[in-house]
Structures are given as C-alpha cells and as structure tokens.
C-alpha cells in the first residue's frame, strides 16, 4: 500500500484559524499520512517560536459565540481582543483541547513537514530567527512539487 499524502496551505494567523491546520495535520500523521503544511501570509505567524501573540478578534467575526450580545462599537474598544483571546483560551482548556503549541509539537514529532513561504518572509521583513527550527523555506513551485501528488489538499 502506498503512503497517502495530505497538503495544507495555512494562510491565517488568528487563534481560531490556527487550529484546523494543526489538528488535521497531526491527525493525518497519526493515520499514517505523509503531511506537508505550507505557511504563507499571516499563516507564518504560526511558525513563530512564541505563539502567545496569536489572538482571536471578535471584530469581523460575527459568528463567534459571545456570552452577551456585543455591538460592534463595543468590540472595537481597546482590550477587547485580549479579552476575547483570554476567554477563548480558557474555554479551550476547560474542554481539554490542546494548546496550539502542543498540537504543533505533536505535528513535528510525527514528522509533519512545515514549509514557510520565502516570499512572505521577505515581504513582511520577518527575521528567520523568530521562527522555529527544522522548517524549510520555499515558494509556490515547492508546494506544487508535493501537492501535485497528494490525496487531500486543503486551503485554510
């Protein structure tokens, strides 16, 4: 039986959108898939050594369940983003959902390959020393090289 493959493009750097790529990648790896995740644009934030700055915003996120209805004028007040992030992290912990850090470590442990988009790194003038080790840097063609031969290919 040939090894199944999955490729994911991770383009978002918020707490809510960080979960799907790491959950799917770690699960696919556990099921025996060879997995590669290509991080581009804001998704690059998920490769930082320190993930504590990854936040969730109630703004422009109308489907986010809130304890009380909150008008947009209130959502844009200073500190609302930190508060929403803190509440979300407490909720995740209470329900036994792994932290991003833990899921990312599980991915790396299971040999999921992380590729950072070189163009975006240059575009935002990111310092590579802020990113975790054992990742590769490449472009769209690098992604196609793997994605062209996958069974599952997702854009998040």
């Amino acid at each position: 039986m040939t090894t199944k493959k999955m490729a994911i493009i991770a383009t978002k750097g918020t707490l809510d959108m960080a979960y799907p790529p790491f959950i799917l990648a770690s699960t696919a790896a556990a099921l025996g898939y060879e997995v590669q995740v290509f991080f581009t644009f804001y998704g690059l934030q998920l490769l930082r050594k320190d993930l504590s700055d990854v936040m969730i915003s109630p703004l422009a996120n109308p489907a986010m369940p809130m304890p009380i209805p909150m008008p947009v004028m209130v959502q844009m007040l200073p500190g609302m983003e930190s508060m929403a992030t803190m509440m979300m992290k407490q909720k995740l912990k209470k329900h036994g959902v792994a932290s991003l850090q833990e899921l990312r470590d599980l991915c790396l442990e299971a040999d999921v390959k992380f590729v950072a988009c070189q163009m975006t790194v240059d575009l935002f003038e990111f310092d590579k020393s802020e990113f975790i080790d054992n990742i590769e840097y490449g472009g769209a063609a690098t992604f196609m090289g793997f994605a062209g031969d996958t069974d599952i290919c997702l854009f998040v």
């Binding site: 699960t27 556990a30 099921l31 036994g96 299971a110």
Partner: protein
C-alpha cells in the same frame, strides 16, 4: 479482557485521543492490545475510523459510566 498497555485519554478532546493512541501504540508489538479510556464522545467514531485506516483492530468499543473504553489490537 486482557490488555498489555493502558492509556487514559480522559478529559482531552479531538484530535488528542487519536494522536496519543497512535503514540501509545508505537512502542508496542504486533498483536498486543492497548486499552484506551476516553471521555470525548467524538472518540467513538474516530477510534473506529483510526482502526479502519491504519489496519489496527478495534476489538471492542464500550461505554461505562460516562467513559468510553476501547481495546485496540496492534497490526
């Protein structure tokens, strides 16, 4: 039923019960049985799906007092 190793996945949610079951199986030998206890009801379908896709055998899947007990025989 007898088992060779036990792993308690109580209190953790998707995808941890599956990912950690895979890890628990890693150092076991073919034919050995792993017992997994979980509280995540999603694990019931996921554990079967894990077995179907990895070739390990789910010998039993039961519920006891709000806990889900699985016996997984390593391929």
């Amino acid at each position: 039923m007898n088992f060779d190793k036990e792993f308690d996945a109580s209190g953790i949610s998707c995808p941890l019960p599956i990912v950690k079951t895979k890890k628990a199986l890693a150092d076991m030998e073919s034919g050995q049985v792993l017992k997994v206890t979980a509280t995540d009801c999603g694990a019931v379908k996921d554990m079967q799906a894990f077995a179907d896709q990895t070739g390990n055998t789910l010998l039993s899947s039961t519920e006891e007092g709000g806990k889900y007990i699985f016996l997984m025989k390593k391929k």
